[in-house]
């Protein structure tokens, strides 16, 4: 039993990291008033490009740069639709999702199921002095570490610095921010692209660390989960860590349970995070808590000429 527990705890951070990266990316977007439902597609295209580069002989750094570049290119398309043309954001997000999944299926057609070197955990010697249990949890790869550190940095930038304040102002009340001299379009576009970098990193994490290969349908709804996790973490990058650990822990539990041969209702366990998020939404609505955390101008396009 304790073996199962320590194996579970040691695999949880790597399962949680892609959720966390995507969620903080989305938090940056939504704090500026843009809801990006295209994460799933952005993650897919980043994942496939990273694998293709790694398979074609590029090293890990090049693979990540390529993956992020592809993800940001797709995000730019979303930004063009949602911020510049002011297409309804839900619609623009769905288009981005489908384009990302479709194009990644195209690109990755000849590269499916070929194992890549990917990214290995940090050297075990660094953690040799720690107790085994702690060493197991801390001995992750650098991208997983980056995810958790980035969450704290993003929280700090958004809540404690000037640009963060202006970004949140754009998301809460775009007309007022505009009147105060904040360039609304530039901030929204910047937030969309920065968020896209994190979403793309989440995709690279999935293919280079999680699976060590590319296969169609690999993102498997994790982008959509991230969209829901933004609500669960109430638009705070710090609380996103807890939410990501919750989803990561459940996802890490299933293979452990299956390999231990226990007879458990696997799909009910996998369903539990979704039910938890739904329950959270309903309870938050019932007691009116956290209702104010949603940026007031979320999904509302802004055009100075049609000011309210």
């Amino acid at each position: 039993m304790s073996e199962l527990l320590s194996a579970w705890a040691a695999t949880t951070p790597a399962f949680a990291a892609p959720f966390l990266l995507a969620t903080i990316g989305l938090i940056i977007n939504e704090r500026a008033g843009v809801m990006n439902l295209g994460v799933e597609g952005i993650m897919a295209i980043a994942a496939v490009v990273a694998v293709i580069i790694n398979l074609s002989g590029g090293d890990v750094a090049l693979a990540i740069i390529g993956g992020v570049g592809a993800g940001v290119a797709l995000t730019a398309l979303f930004g063009f639709m949602a911020v510049v043309l002011r297409v309804e954001q839900v619609l623009a997000g769905l288009v981005t999702f489908a384009l990302g999944i479709g194009v990644s299926g195209y690109l990755g057609d000849g590269f499916q199921n070929q194992p890549v070197a990917g990214i290995s955990p940090l050297p075990a010697a660094w953690f040799a002095r720690l107790p085994t249990f702690a060493a197991g949890i801390l001995d992750q790869d650098f991208l997983t570490w980056f995810a958790f550190i980035a969450a704290v940095i993003v929280w700090f930038v958004l809540t404690r610095t000037g640009p963060g304040l202006r970004l949140r102002a754009v998301g809460e009340d775009a007309p007022a921010a505009d009147a105060a001299g904040v360039p609304v379009m530039a901030y929204r576009m910047g937030a969309v692209l920065t968020g896209g970098v994190f979403c793309a990193l989440a995709g690279c994490h999935l293919s280079l660390i999680g699976a060590h290969l590319w296969v169609d349908g690999m993102v498997a709804g994790r982008g959509w989960i991230a969209v829901a996790m933004v609500t669960l973490s109430r638009w705070s990058a710090l609380r996103a860590i807890a939410a990501a650990l919750l989803f990561g822990a459940v996802e890490a539990l299933v293979p452990q349970l299956l390999s231990s041969g226990m007879n458990v209702p696997v799909y009910f366990i996998e369903m539990s995070p979704y039910l938890a998020t739904l329950a959270y939404l309903l309870i938050a609505g019932l007691f009116q808590t956290g209702a104010d955390a949603r940026p007031a101008d979320l999904t509302r396009p802004y055009l100075r000429e049609e000011r309210r």
């Binding site: 384009l99 169609d216 939404l281």
Partner: protein, 359 residues
């Protein structure tokens, strides 16, 4: 630096001509882009014509596949359409399909209701299941302010995983223990119409389209929905029961997706499988949007998208194009149509710098 600067101003009046022009401009641009893309994949124009038009409509086998697929696509397209009419984003059609399919299967497996009315009971159960799946999300938005984009999305997973749990558990086929339910008896199958796999569900889908058209265009609820979509606060102020209308439209929308689940299990598969509710979310949105949320347009758009899938299957077989082709084409079409809508909502003009910059 630049002598002219662009000026975007909202349009107050949209003529029908402009609306049609932007719609067909968008679809046309999208088709041209897709054609160019497929031409770079080593296909000739004649190949494209024979695959996309000749096979999907001219060949009995292709037409059969197109029409059969169009049945469920019409129903989910109508589902999104009804919800769009009250500005309710239903991106949970898959969950509603699962709910409807599970409800219909439960009726068969547990022999609910009189045997003579088995199909009718399944029909009602599927509507109830789908309607409930969407209705709770609508209620959560109206009374608890929970964003429907998130809740309908999450309900997809709840539905899919509930079905998997049942298929690997209580409903697993006892004969060969594959994760599919028992085959339905003949009394629980929709009649075939003597043309390939096309089944009686096509009358359900066409009837539903006619009903939705009546509902949106001529009924009281339809005109109230129109007011709500334009401005919910103003609608409430003049006495429109906003909550009840939104709830009704969302439940009806969910029920239509539930019927799609029913038509798949009772008309195509004759059993509940693991793949009943897969890959419907994006097509449903595309169909509703290409039809500009007009129920009669949905019929046309659904047949068009179904033809796209038929052609995609044969492209996969003959030209070894990946299965992602269809999704890419759909996305390109919707991208162009939604970008063209910019000209519908805004007037773009260029004004000289330095002069008065307001029109």
């Amino acid at each position: 630096m630049w002598r002219y600067k662009p000026l975007v101003s909202p349009r107050l009046v949209v003529t029908r001509r402009l609306a049609l022009l932007t719609l067909f401009g968008g679809i046309g641009t999208g088709l041209v882009l897709c054609t160019l893309f497929l031409l770079t994949q080593g296909m000739g124009l004649s190949d494209l014509a024979s695959q996309f038009i000749g096979y999907t409509f001219g060949n009995p086998e292709g037409l059969d596949e197109t029409l059969t697929r169009a049945i469920s696509l019409m129903l989910v397209g109508l589902s999104v359409t009804l919800c769009l009419r009250v500005k309710f984003w239903n991106i949970g059609v898959e969950g509603q399909i699962w709910a409807g399919a599970m409800a219909a299967t439960a009726v068969v497996l547990y022999h609910i209701g009189p045997a003579a009315l088995r199909l009718e009971t399944m029909f009602l159960a599927a509507m109830l299941g789908g309607g409930l799946w969407c209705g709770v999300c609508a209620a959560a938005r109206l009374y608890l302010r929970a964003n429907e984009v998130i809740t309908t999305l999450l309900m997809n997973y709840v539905g899919a995983m509930l079905a998997q749990q049942l298929l690997y558990g209580a409903w697993r086929n006892p004969r060969d223990s594959f994760p599919v339910s028992q085959s339905f008896p003949h009394g629980a199958r929709l009649a075939l119409l003597g043309f390939g796999h096309v089944h009686a569900g096509i009358f359900i889908a066409l009837g539903a389209a006619a009903f939705c058209f009546w509902l949106c265009t001529y009924s009281r609820v339809g005109s109230m929905a129109h007011a709500i979509a334009a401005n919910p606060l103003a609608a409430r102020a003049v006495g429109v029961p906003v909550a009840r209308v939104v709830l009704l439209m969302a439940c009806l929308g969910g029920a239509l997706s539930g019927l799609a689940g029913f038509s798949i299990v009772a008309g195509e598969e004759y059993k509940l499988t693991q793949f009943v509710g897969n890959d419907y979310i994006f097509p449903s949105i595309v169909i509703a949007y290409l039809a500009r949320a007009n129920p009669l347009g949905v019929v046309v758009a659904a047949i068009g998208i179904a033809a796209l899938y038929t052609a995609g299957d044969s492209l996969k077989a003959f030209f070894e194009l990946p299965g992602a082709t269809v999704l890419t084409i759909e996305a390109t079409l919707l991208f162009c149509v939604s970008c063209f809508e910019f000209f519908l909502r805004y007037r773009l003009s260029f004004v000289k710098r330095g002069r008065m910059e307001t029109p």
